[in-house]
């Protein structure tokens, strides 16, 4: 009778105490495995991040140059200033400047790189040929990156002809 009670007791301990513990332990082991995998990945990621950031900090001074080449916003006043300033340096009369925002560069959603936006400027000017050529050269080599898309030279007049021309320039900026 005592043996039977002990066997029943053993079965009771197994079914009501050990079995739930095993289920809970199974869950905890899964959680531990996931935590350890996360820790390992996280550790690697943080180490890599710190390595990259420390390398970036050694070239952080370049940031100001990059901000000039492709500014972090449209900065239209600066663009106007540069286009007009270069024209003035080359004795060019600027008749009008029009700005137009172009469509954004497409990028994949997972990409870390922020896309760049484009502003198009149409500059109507008049000057002699040499000044025009110098102006175009100055735009091409300007610190803020600009690409000349079209140049339309219309007929000048007189013995020392003044050319009227329209330059379409694209400038770029970093989007948010």
């Amino acid at each position: 009778m005592g043996s039977l009670l002990l066997i029943v007791g053993s079965l009771y301990v197994y079914s009501s105490l050990i079995s739930p513990q095993l289920s809970a332990l199974q869950e905890l082991r899964g959680k531990r495995q996931a935590t350890m995998a996360l820790l390992s990945d996280y550790e690697t990621a943080i180490q890599e991040k710190n390595r990259v950031i420390s390398r970036y900090q050694s070239v952080e001074t370049l940031q100001s140059v990059f901000d000039e080449v492709v500014p972090p916003d449209q900065n239209v006043p600066s663009l106007l200033n540069q286009l007009y300033g270069l024209a003035k340096l080359n004795d060019i009369f600027v008749d009008s400047v029009e700005f137009q925002e172009m469509s954004l560069q497409t990028t994949t959603s997972k990409s870390l790189v922020k896309p760049y936006g484009t502003i198009q400027a149409n500059v109507k000017c008049s000057s002699d040929y040499a000044a025009m050529k110098n102006y175009l050269g100055a735009i091409e080599t300007n610190v803020r990156l600009m690409n000349i898309r079209t140049v339309t030279v219309t007929e000048g007049f007189g013995d020392n002809p003044t050319l009227s021309y329209t330059i379409t320039v694209e400038a770029y900026y970093l989007t948010e």
């Binding site: 301990v13 950031i53 140049v151």
Partner: protein, 209 residues
């Protein structure tokens, strides 16, 4: 009577009372082991795993402290984006001055230009101008055709007006012609064909040379 009472059990039978004791010990051992297993799981292995998880989570929290700040990360992303975009934009950076340099070097004195429309994206240029004669115009077209950056030159029209031949032409350029290179944008010091003076009093004329 006593002499008839068997003193030994017949062979093959066990003593009554021994089996229940053995069964009791066996079941007691089973019960004890079961209980020990439970205690081991509940107060040994489970706390160990829980401590292990807590330790992992603590390490993750500590790593958070050593991670770069969000502000630094944002700055780095901006820097990296600018670097990538500048690299991409520089690889497609264009220049139109090589066209003027080429035309200055290769345009004869008998030719003048009055207008020009350059399309860098389309890699074309439409020009109108004047020539002193049809021969001069034909000679000029053959020179342009031989230019390395020009893939095609087409004369759209040519007509005689006020002793000059007014013409319109279109040039198609090679894909890399407008590609920016520091050497290409530098002015040519010694033109191959030195342009001389423009034709006398062309009608409302301007020229590239």
């Amino acid at each position: 009577m006593a002499e008839n009472f068997p003193t030994q059990l017949p062979s093959g039978t066990s003593r009554p009372g021994i089996i229940p004791w053995k069964a009791l010990i066996f079941s007691g051992v089973i019960f004890g082991m079961t209980f020990i297993v439970y205690l081991g799981l509940a107060f040994g292995y489970k706390p160990f795993i829980e401590a292990s998880i807590a330790n992992g989570e603590k390490r993750i929290a500590e790593l958070d402290q050593t991670a770069p700040k969000a502000e630094t990360e944002a700055k780095f992303i901006q820097f990296y984006s600018q670097l990538t975009n500048i690299s991409s934009l520089l690889s497609s950076h264009t220049a139109v001055t090589p066209l003027f340099n080429s035309f200055e070097a290769k345009t004869m004195a008998d030719i003048g230009f009055a207008g020009m429309a350059i399309n860098v994206s389309g890699k074309t240029a439409s020009m109108n101008g004047f020539a002193r004669s049809y021969e001069a115009l034909a000679g000029q077209l053959s020179i342009y055709e031989s230019l390395s950056g020009i893939s095609k030159i087409a004369l759209s029209s040519a007509r005689l007006a006020d002793d000059f031949v007014r013409f319109e032409m279109k040039a198609d350029f090679t894909p890399d012609f407008f590609k920016f290179t520091p050497a290409a944008t530098a002015p040519i010091e010694q033109p191959i064909e030195q342009p001389i003076e423009q034709p006398a009093s062309p009608p409302a004329a301007t020229g590239t040379n």
